[in-house]
Subunit: 340 residues, 2 copies
């Protein structure tokens, strides 16, 4: 049977109240007594029963999620995952609010962040492009004692508590590894399409991609990245223009959103020559895989990201440091053959 606080009290030769004071860091205990209790905890291998503790504490964690609105399927999927976490929120003692803001609009995000009430919110998770205004607003939240985690795209210049997302450099490298192997010795150009280089995730992917492609696949040359603001129509036009201008394009890497446009631009006839890698499993990218127009989809599981963000913000609110190993978000690769 696992030890309880009563066992600790008996083992240390002190009262329950003293054990409680030590375990919860309350004042009024002599250093020598603290050590006696800690030794007893060590000897018996006591670990707090979290269920019982939460039950007794009755604490709730009010969290705020800030995500871009608009048609981007990935963001809508992310929002769905947050809503699904809200459903479970009572069981997890969290109380989650979602604020949607116009995409690519730093001022809107800053406005939301600046009116967060530290008394009503213990943690904030946000998806934002990397601009100085947003980083500054995040830092102001941190100064108010609110923990902030970036989601999907990081704000490396800010003092955010944590980043919940994939290693986008590694994602770009992976895309390069796949495209390089899919082209298997052939030479030609690779079109890179991005949403916005202000998004740090897009920038990292482009950098990782370029690093591996240039070093390991010298026969392949990058065209772009072309910026499209994640707009499907602009993706379609950008791809058409680039393909017309560069008949020797043998692969395309869309590291941003707007895959619908890519699907529309890919002439069915040209397939077999073209290796295509995109990001995020959505209805459109599933369709692309199924029809053989996309060869691989690199995915981040936004459900994992949302749950990780919640765990991290809760842990921080309790003054704990989250286990970084457990909070790593993996990069998924899907072919049409292993699509879930």
């Amino acid at each position: 049977m696992r030890p309880t606080v009563h066992d600790i009290a008996a083992e240390a030769g002190v009262s329950l109240a003293t054990v409680d004071r030590v375990l919860n860091g309350r004042p009024g205990v002599r250093q020598k007594t603290v050590e006696k209790v800690e030794a007893a905890v060590e000897r018996l291998g006591y670990v707090r029963d979290v269920s019982a503790a939460n039950l007794a504490r009755g604490r709730v964690y009010p969290l705020l999620f800030v995500v871009p609105e608009g048609p981007n399927s990935f963001m809508r999927g992310l929002e769905a995952e947050i809503r699904s976490a809200m459903q479970r929120s009572s069981a997890e003692r969290t109380s989650i609010t979602i604020e949607t803001v116009p995409p690519f609009d730093p001022a809107a995000i800053v406005a939301v962040l600046d009116q967060v009430d530290p008394a009503a919110v213990t943690g904030v998770a946000l998806v934002a492009a990397d601009t100085p205004e947003v980083s500054a607003a995040v830092d102001r939240l941190i100064d108010k004692g609110i923990h902030v985690t970036t989601l999907v795209s990081d704000l490396p210049g800010s003092r955010r508590t944590h980043f919940c997302g994939i290693d986008n450099l590694a994602a770009g490298r992976t895309a390069a590894g796949l495209i390089g192997r899919f082209c298997a010795g052939r030479s030609g150009k690779v079109l890179v399409v991005a949403g916005s280089m202000a998004l740090s995730d897009h920038m990292d992917r482009a950098a990782g991609f370029a690093a591996i492609l240039n070093s390991e696949f010298p026969g392949l040359e990058i065209v772009g990245p072309v910026e499209t603001n994640d707009d499907a129509d602009r993706v379609r036009e950008a791809v058409r223009t680039a393909m017309a201008a560069n008949p020797d394009i043998i692969a395309i890497y869309n590291l941003g959103a707007g895959n619908r446009g890519l699907l529309e631009a890919l002439p069915q006839a040209d397939r077999g020559r073209l290796a295509v890698v995109v990001h995020e499993v959505t209805d459109v990218s599933r369709k692309g895989l199924a029809e053989g127009l996309f060869d691989a989809v690199i995915n981040q599981d936004c459900g994992h990201e949302v749950r990780s963000a919640i765990r991290v913000l809760k842990a921080r609110a309790d003054g704990l440091v989250p286990l970084s190993a457990q909070e790593r978000i993996r990069i998924d690769i899907f072919l049409k053959d292993n699509l879930p």
Copy 2:
């Protein structure tokens, strides 16, 4: 505030005791009253506070894991994950025992399964080759009222409660998709190395691989599968022999263990012509990726599998049906660029 049993009692106009009887399926409640309570639960959206319930119940779930002994890195990794789950076991109210048995020895597994005491064990998870004796022993456990889940490799002929593992047909298809694309239009032979076709996971992978390779990549022809009983030395010799006999082998798929042997057999000089896909991230396969000898590693996260097995067995012990969507184990693909 989320509703409690007290709220349900008030809402339904019955006593706490009756609510408790209904919620826990105890007898002695008229059908009409049951419906009143269930309606109240529905109206208020009551969900049982699992922490409080477990605390009150004080129930523990004694589980038994049966895994093969021997040097197989994947199995040792699996065992490590089980041991790590044992560490957390008190927090999860489980009490886990591990039994190791000689690999490829059905009689040993049967012996272990047949001496399981239904009073002392509520659930069993096992890794076993698909033989009639083992399936029969599993069915005997089921008859005794013990829930059984297969791990990694399924026993489709048995009445096991659940299978915790990846879709191995899809894994084989994925390997074919990767190898086909890596070979990008070249023609030649693909060597398939397996551990034992008695293992249903190996059989499924081989079948999925053949299906896709034959239908989508007509220029590629399968050699094998060669059986090696997952022994690295036998893998090395099998690969050497096959490569000598078939100079036109342009790809290798090892769907079983023993990657060390494959690594030893791959002459560094021949690289660039050879696409190699193997299974399971281990020290050896990491090395193969890092050195560029392996192109891709298909992985199943055995930590996920162990945790899923525990959740499923606990749920079953409580008479619940686990959510199949949540218990799906994903197929991971690793290149050297996205290795964790």
